[in-house]
Structure formats: structure tokens, C-alpha cells
Symmetry: D2
Amino acid sequence: MIRAGIIGATGYAGGELVRLLLGHKDVEIVWYGSRSYIDQKYADVYRNVFKLVEDVCKGDDLLKLSGEVDVIFTATPQGYLGSVLNEDILSRCKVIDLSADYRLKDVGVYEEWYKIEHKSPELIGEAVYGLCEINRESIKKARLIANPGCYTTCSILSVYPLLKEGLIDKDSIIIDAKSGVSGAGRGAKVANLYCEVNESMKAYGVTTHRHTPEIEEQLSYACDSKIKVLFTPHLAPMNRGILVTAYASLKENVNEEDVRAAYEKYYSDEYFIRILDKGVCPETRWVEGSNFYDVNAVTDKRTNRVIMMGALDNMVKGAAGQAVQNMNLLFGLKENEGLCITPVFP
Amino acid sequence: MIRAGIIGATGYAGGELVRLLLGHKDVEIVWYGSRSYIDQKYADVYRNVFKLVEDVCKGDDLLKLSGEVDVIFTATPQGYLGSVLNEDILSRCKVIDLSADYRLKDVGVYEEWYKIEHKSPELIGEAVYGLCEINRESIKKARLIANPGCYTTCSILSVYPLLKEGLIDKDSIIIDAKSGVSGAGRGAKVANLYCEVNESMKAYGVTTHRHTPEIEEQLSYACDSKIKVLFTPHLAPMNRGILVTAYASLKENVNEEDVRAAYEKYYSDEYFIRILDKGVCPETRWVEGSNFYDVNAVTDKRTNRVIMMGALDNMVKGAAGQAVQNMNLLFGLKENEGLCITPVFP
Amino acid sequence: MIRAGIIGATGYAGGELVRLLLGHKDVEIVWYGSRSYIDQKYADVYRNVFKLVEDVCKGDDLLKLSGEVDVIFTATPQGYLGSVLNEDILSRCKVIDLSADYRLKDVGVYEEWYKIEHKSPELIGEAVYGLCEINRESIKKARLIANPGCYTTCSILSVYPLLKEGLIDKDSIIIDAKSGVSGAGRGAKVANLYCEVNESMKAYGVTTHRHTPEIEEQLSYACDSKIKVLFTPHLAPMNRGILVTAYASLKENVNEEDVRAAYEKYYSDEYFIRILDKGVCPETRWVEGSNFYDVNAVTDKRTNRVIMMGALDNMVKGAAGQAVQNMNLLFGLKENEGLCITPVFP
Amino acid sequence: MIRAGIIGATGYAGGELVRLLLGHKDVEIVWYGSRSYIDQKYADVYRNVFKLVEDVCKGDDLLKLSGEVDVIFTATPQGYLGSVLNEDILSRCKVIDLSADYRLKDVGVYEEWYKIEHKSPELIGEAVYGLCEINRESIKKARLIANPGCYTTCSILSVYPLLKEGLIDKDSIIIDAKSGVSGAGRGAKVANLYCEVNESMKAYGVTTHRHTPEIEEQLSYACDSKIKVLFTPHLAPMNRGILVTAYASLKENVNEEDVRAAYEKYYSDEYFIRILDKGVCPETRWVEGSNFYDVNAVTDKRTNRVIMMGALDNMVKGAAGQAVQNMNLLFGLKENEGLCITPVFP
């Protein structure tokens, strides 16, 4: 039995980790960390687990925790883990970080986009970017996993095969993403009140969203060259789900079959990636509650572009589900252990 | 391995049966029946199971089906099963009916409320009303299960302990229920279009809803006397969930502790029933996707009444989940096999 | 031109007042009061009025304000107006209070339900309860209007005619109300975040909601006798709207025609009250954005009860619209001036 | 008093025309045309106008109607008006067509994209494309107005100034649009049921949506050269609203100030166009129910692109509101007569 601790267990991503780990036969959650709710019953905060979880919330003493568990999940604000993680902790247990602290290799880029000083830059090097379908082998050997962001996972997976195969112009990538509201977290802000979000769509963080450099770094590895993408996130009135619509110019003589072949080359053996049938567009409702990522692409002869479309549940493949997938890899379990969940519809 | 067939697999309840049975280790679905989609891939209708289900939809030849399976689930329009079920079929396999055809013992009441002639009244007698928490032992021995309606399950479970214990005036029961839209089914009707339902609340079927006699019959058993209830359903702008707020007059000298004790007497050992802590009201979000039914009650000294509140997911405990629970009982499995699902939030 | 000041202009009710008064040809808003946003442009807080309102937010100096305007609307937290209102202010301008401070004649009841000491009980006596359809003549002569609450307006109007005409048992009234989320205000609370409210229904404030004594007091006037009602509010996942489903026992020999006649007797000449055709249930979508209140009732011979149903927009007839209707009466304008708004659908 | 007839009065756009014209002091609706509801009370179909409209629905005898009214609005399926309109009708009254029949000057393009034979191509020439802010003077003199589509209005207005001023590369335009569900009409289709649309986002009509050639034709006039755009519509779970996020490459040395100056040059005097403050992104909630179109743009130095963002209410500025605006121009009224509506929030 793997003993797991969660720091930030009362945020939405933390809550989703709890849901998924409760259904994982090889894991026991032994630490529900939540600074805001210390000593309160966890099930009083998330009543979905009433009668399923009896624990009370604990604090965030990472060093103590590292001695009691095999793996720590941190679903914490940016900067937190960077400020407390050290060799001692990493030598005692695996750490899977759902924040952005170790996702960017260049600490300067991190500090520029996050406006936070990084307190443990020496650990960035060994962190492995936990996008399982792309970095599987490195993940297996890691101590510290930088679990990808929700927008990022959906964006990278949508574009990666075409870029890797050289089918698209690497300077032409535009990513238009739409997210459910849970991605904004559980903080009490007017902007996320029901009446502010319901019945509305908006773009936000235009040209400045922090997931941009993360997407760029990973896609740069795919084409062996530094690239820039234009990334525009939007807020949609729904609880869960990310839909990415990405655009790029096709290289000469690339057609729809080439595009499809590229996705199949990289993804046809992947359990969690579903390449939809020709003509079928991804919809977030079909992946809700599951770790699936659905993808498809359409080419437009009129403008010689390709439209790459991906959908995932931001709370699962975009956060907690991917974290569990990473854990499975770290501990030599079946990669989809605890994650064979049929999406919930409607 | 239990071999299961589903008739009406492309309705919402049928789709939910598929989701639940895919996660049940002892069951294999061998027949996806759907008159409207014969020969089409099931996963083209419900893309949530893309890559998980390869079958095409078949027709509704119940006799043929009964020879190939251990259990048939019928999630079909009222009157369908009544018109085709016979001894031959029942002698070959178990039948769990999610429609109302065998729920009411008095065929006259059925025909009055449903405006349908019942074609097999001789089978009504042996049908067992599949409310597991109340009829568990009879269910285990049955061939034909009348799986309760969604409103009904929530209403009966909310009122049953107080009525059974004689704590409330049996002529004073008023049930005000609120349902998500999936309860209205997948038929293409203007009234259920997104823009007609969204941002609105309404009562409907006032004094005439067909679940009324079903609630009355079952509650009459509880108090050994024919009773009438006033039942008012409402449509709420959400996919899933039923919330029942039921009112009754307390008998003399009954207090909040007596009320709580009654719920505990009948439900404290039930896996799927969660009696909430004092002062906590049920909310449909906390049971979504699961087979849990959450309940609590508040007494009002000012008016000497009790407010009984229950919440469940109409697609699960109110339909497919309860059907699976019944199947588990019929086949001697653990009652919660395949149903230990943590509710999905948010 | 009537000069109007609004205190609490950046809450939802305040914002709705702005919307309505901008469309009122006889009114000019000269003071946008908002302690939280002083010196910020009002249109930066409510961008729906961008280019329509150029004013910046001001504070809440009521005495100063009273010298500059003809009418003050206070859409403020409970207790605020009670603590600052005085004869000086009332002698200079009319005051329409959207809070509860002057709604209850018995200061003891106020202090018991609101847990606030009332600082100006001497002014309660002259305040007129601003339910126009019932207190029209008193309103015209008032200086201080206690504008009714949203639940209250919908509840009272639904029950009033039957109680006044003695058609129902006065001790049997149960009110089950469903409200949109804007009724909870614009405060930044976790409980009102999109993901907490969306896809869920719940009761709250069961037996303790503060609108209870207000409903009771007004209905007591109708039947000339102190009555108690059981009032249960619910939160529904929608921006606007209140639906009331009220239940009562019919007195002997009262039938559906008597019930209808009672509504017609009191409401058939009322512009803002629409008695729906026989068999049609009120739905909140049909009144959205307007000052209409839709009503209908169904009698149930089986249980000898009546189901009274009413729908209104909590922001309009339940708050700002009714306040404007009161203002029209106070200043001798046409009662529906500025309020002839067709409901917005969908 | 202008006498108006509406054909297709029971569709969503027709219903919105009714709402707006009821609030227009110079117009009287004398014909509520609806083939599906002939002889039924209009207010039984759209209960928002209960007590406001007493008329029953009539058929679609356009010739007869043209003799009784000053203006006909057709909110009808594609191909309908094209098959019945003729010189006789046009000589008797103005026609404002909300369908696409006369929007495209090249009948071949119409027939290719709509798969419908055009029955009156000889009338296409005189039809004026009713985008008031761009074609105001021609509209004033027209008999037949081709009222623009919802996606189209939002897309064209967002891109027009930059293209007209030559600030962007005309071959680089990508339009990613998100629409509320009312744009899909009131037809009873499974795809538009509440449970199918709620809690989901999807793209649809990718590379094939019929509004594409309409956008291209109008934008081609702006830059005096045939251009192609990549247009991708999405369905968002909300009743109303269109949000356009459009992308283009900036020409050399064009900066944010140039971009802003272009919008101001064309739009600063337009009542219905609101250029938002620097850094503020359009949100559909701020225009709901009104004829406003909100716009802003952000330049991205990193990729040398511009992100153009626009929001409008698809039922108002995207359909009925624009139709009324056109009517005002046709009849020499104030352009915003009946359209000075403050957006409804929340």
C-alpha cells in the first residue's frame, strides 16, 4: 500500500486527488493537509466524501510528512513548494507538484512570468515534467514531478505530433483555449461568483497568461528550436473541462491524411488519448470526470491551415488524474490503475 | 461473469447503466438494445464510451435476448415491457425494469394514472418493488424487479422512518421535489431545449404526476393504512439531482431527537444512505455521480412540523445505480459491488 | 426631474436600481454611493453601464445626500439605515429602504431574527411596508418606505387573496421557495462561487430564515389574526428568479373557481400581476428582467389542499423594480412609469 | 405609427423582435406570422408577453401582408424568403430579412455554402447588407435589407477597422467565435437539449460554417481585395451572447496605439459600439439584452500579432436589435429609437 499525503487537500485539485485516490486500490491517504481548515473534519469541507473520509485536516509540515509517506502531492499556490522543498524531503519520498514551481527549466522565465523569486532553483534541474505520454521513461526514474498545468496539457498534446513531425510552420501556432471555472480555484473572489461567471464568456490574461512559457518550452523540445506561441485562455460557464482550438499553417503538400497519421504515430497506443473519428470534434462533456484526452484535427484547404482540437477534464487529465498517472509510473504500477473511469454524461 | 442486456440503452438511464456496468467487475454487457439506433455504433451515440465500447446497437427482441443473458435491464417507455414480458422470458433470466410497468400492485391505479392499458396484469403480483433498503429480502428471491422511480426513491426514503415509527400525522404529508433535467429523458422536445430550461424554475404535473400513486402505495405499507400525499415536482436548471423537501405535522411530544433516532434505526447500517450531521441540509452536488442518498430533518417548534430533506442523483440511486444494486442482490453479490463511487465535485 | 441617490449602488440590487432608473424618464441619478468603491468609476464596477454612466462612486453621508436629492434608495446591509436615519433626513427627502430595517413593526421580533439592536425604533411606526398592490394608498403619503424582501413579496402575493377571503386554513400554510443566486448578494463567499452553486439544489435557513416574520406579519394583517407559516427557502442554480410553491388546506366546500375568483378580486386590475390561464404554472423565465409577478393556483381534491404558485424576478419585483414602483407612487407618477419592460426570453 | 409584420415570430429571433418592437414607441406589430402555431395565441407560445400581446398567430401570406404593413421582418429558415419575394411585395413595403437569402452578392457562393437553389437571384443586387455602422447611407435608401448574421456582425466589426486601415496582414485572419445556444434556434433537436449542451464546450462546422463567406465578402470590401478567413464557431453553455476572439499578424511597425486609433476612427461616434478601456476584455454578460457591441484589442510583441475581441448579444445586435436599427434608418427615425436599453446584469 502506497502511503500518500496531500498538501492543499481542500482546493479543487486537492479534492479531486482525494476522489481519485479513494478509488485507487494501492493507495491510502494518510495526510489531508489544509492550512485553512486545520483540525476540521475533511468531510465537513467536501461533503461528497462524508462517511468515506473520517480524517481531520492537518497542516503543511512537509519534512515531518515526508517521513510518514511514500509520496506527497502538493496542490498549493505558486511559490509555496519552491520555498520549502529540499534534499532531505526528496530523499525520503517522492514529490508530485501540481503547482508550477518546477515546470520551467529557466528560473529567469519563471520569475518573469510568475513575479515570484524562486527559493530552490537548484532543484529545478532534476524535476521531470510529468506529461506522461511524452516523458514516460524519465518520469519512472524521477524523485520530483512537475505535474503540468491544465491548459498546458491540453495545448501541448494537441500540437505536439504535428510539430514533432514537422507538418506545421512552427512560428504560426495560435492556441485559443476555453476553460471551466474550477480551474480558477476555490478562493473567495467576486470574479468567480456564480452570478459573475454564469451566462458569460470572456478572454482573460491575453498575451500574459503564465501557462504560455510552459507550453513554449515543451513544444520547443518537440521541434528542437525555440518557439513562441500565442495563447489566449477564456472562461466558460461550466464547472469542468478545457477545450483547446489551436491553429497553425500547414507546410507545403501536407494533407489531412498526413495530419491524422501523425496523431496516430504518437497516440494510437495511449490508453488515455482518444483520436476521434474523422469529422468528429472533441466536446468536453465526453471526458468529464475521466482522465481521457480527446483529440482531432481538420485541415482547411482554403487557407492552408490546420485546426487542432483537444478536450480534457481540467481537474483530472489537467491536474489530479495526471498526478495519479505520474504516481503509477513512479511506483511501477499499471499506468491506468485507479484511472479506468468512464466519463460521466450527462 | 454475469451477462447483461440493456433495452433502451441510448436513453439517459440506459447510458448510465452502461457507465456503471462498465465499472462492475462481475458483469459483461452483451446487448446494447436501441430501436432508434439499430446497427449504429453505440459509442457514436454516447461518445463518453468511445474506445471503451465497440458494440453496435441491436433491437428489442426480448425473447431472443432472454436466452443469451442472465439479466435484462429495461429502460424503456411506459407500457413497453408490460406488452412483451411473459413467463417464457422470466423463466430464462432475471428482469429489472426501470419503467413503471410493474411498480403499482393495483392495475386500475396504473391504468388511471398512466392512461395505458396493462397487457400483462398477471405478472404484477410477483414483481418486487426494488427499493433495496426497504425490500432487501424479497428482492433477493425475485425474478422480476420493478425498479423505483427517481422522485419516488427520494420521497419514500425521506419519509419512511418517521411514518413507520408513527412520529408524523399520516394525512399531513406534502412533498415538494426538485429535479435535474436528465429526468425528462433524451427525447427531442422544445420544452427540454437548453434555452427553455436554463435560468428558470417551474412546477409541473401539479396534483397529477404519475409518481404520486407509487409513493402513496409504498408509504401506505409503512403505516399499514391507505394514505394520500400531495406531491409537487419541479424542474431545476441542472443535469442531475433530485432534492426532496417533505413536510408533515409531528405527533404530540415528538422532538428532534426522536426524529433523528428514527432515521438511525432504519438507516444507520445502510451503505448508501448518509444521515447528515445535525443542522446540515442535503445538497445534490454532494451525491452527484454516486449511488448515495443523503438525508436529514429539521423540526419546527413554532409550527410543530418536521421538514424532511433528501438528495440523490436521479440517474444513479434514482435509476441505474439502484438497478445495479438490485442486480447485486439478485445474484448474491456484495450489495455495493461496482457502486463504491465517490461523488464527483465540483 | 426627480433627483435620486443610491446608497449601496454596487451591490446587485443597487446595480439593478441603476439599470431601471436609467430607463426612467423622470429620474436622474445624482449619487452613486458605495463605500467599497469610493472614487472609482461606477462603470468600472458594472461595465453594463459603460458609456451610459460617467459618475464615480461616492460615500454614504446620508445627511449631506438628503440635502441634494428628492429620494434616497438604500440597498445596504441590515442595520445600516437603522443606525443612521433620523428626522432631519426624513424631513428633507423621501427614503426607500431595500434592507429589512423598517419592515417589522415589532422591534423585538426584528432584534430576535436579525440579531441586531435597532438604533432608531422610534421611526418604525411611520414606515410604510411598500408592497404596492396591498398598501398603495398608505405608500402615497409616506416619507419612509420599507421595501419588501424578494421571498416575501412572492410569498405574500401568492397567499394573500386566499387568506383574505378566508378560503384556507390559516394554520396550514407552508411556503417552499426557490431563489436564484443573485439574492445572496455580491459578497465574496466560497458558498456563492460558481462551482459551489452550479449543478446543485439545496434548502438553507430551514425554520430560521429572516423573511419568515415579515411574511407572517403581513399575512396576519390579511386574516386579522396572528399566524405562523413554515417557510423554507432553497438556492437554485440560476442568476435571477424566485418561484414560490405554497401549500394550504382548503376550508370546506371551497373549489377551484372560488380560488380563482379570489385572485381576480384582488389582482385583476393590477398591471404587474398576471393571473395565468387555468392549468398554466408560473415559470421564472417568463418574468426575467421585468416587474411582473405571475401567479396561479391548483386545487387538489384528493388531499383537499391548494397549491399556490408565484414567480417573479428577485432583482426587480423582489427588489429594485418594486422600489421604483414605490417611488412612482410617492411622487404621483404613473405607477408603471419606467417599468413597462417586456421580460427577456430566453 | 409604423405597421410591422413578422414572419417567423415564434422562433427565438422572432420572439426578440416582438420584445424590442413592443418597447418601440413608433411601431405597432400587426401580424405575428408563424406557420407552426397558426390560430394559437402568440402569448401561449411566448408567455413573457402574456397580457402584453393578445394576437393569435397567422400564416405567411407575404403578398397579402405586404398590403397591410409598412415593413416586414422575416426571421425564417434559409431559402424561404428567396422563394417567395418579388417586385410586387417590395413595391408595397420594406423588407428586412434576418435569414441569409440576400446577404451574399454572388449567388454561386450562396448555393455552394447553403446547398439551396436561389429562386430570386435577380433581387440580390438591390439588397443592402444591413450592417448599420458600415453601410448606413445605403441602408437609408434601400427597400430590401439583408440583416447580417450574429457571428458575422461580431466578426466583421472586430476586424474591420484594422483591415480598412491596412494595419494587419489580410491573409492572416483567424476568427475563433463562441456562441450562446439561442443562436441554434428553437427547433426540437437532441443536440440542443439542456443535458447535451450544459457543462460542455465544442467547436462545430469547422471550416464549413455558412457565415464564413459572408464575413469574407464584407471584409473583402474593407481591404478592396478578395480575402479568405479561417472561421471556427463554438457552442457555449449559455442562452445568449457571442464572443469573438480574432487573430491577425500586424504589419511592420504597427503598435497598440495605431490599433486603438483605428477603432476610434471608425467607431468613436457610434452609439452602439463601445471601445473598452485599455486592458479590458469584452465579456458577453455586459451586453446582454442590449444592442451594444463591445470591442477591444491587445497587441502581442512577442509574436507580432493582434488579438481583436468583440462581444454582443446574438439575439439583439446579432439579430433582432440590428433589424430594428435598420428599420429606424429606413424610416428616418433616430437610429437608437427603441434600442436605448441598458444591458441586464446579472
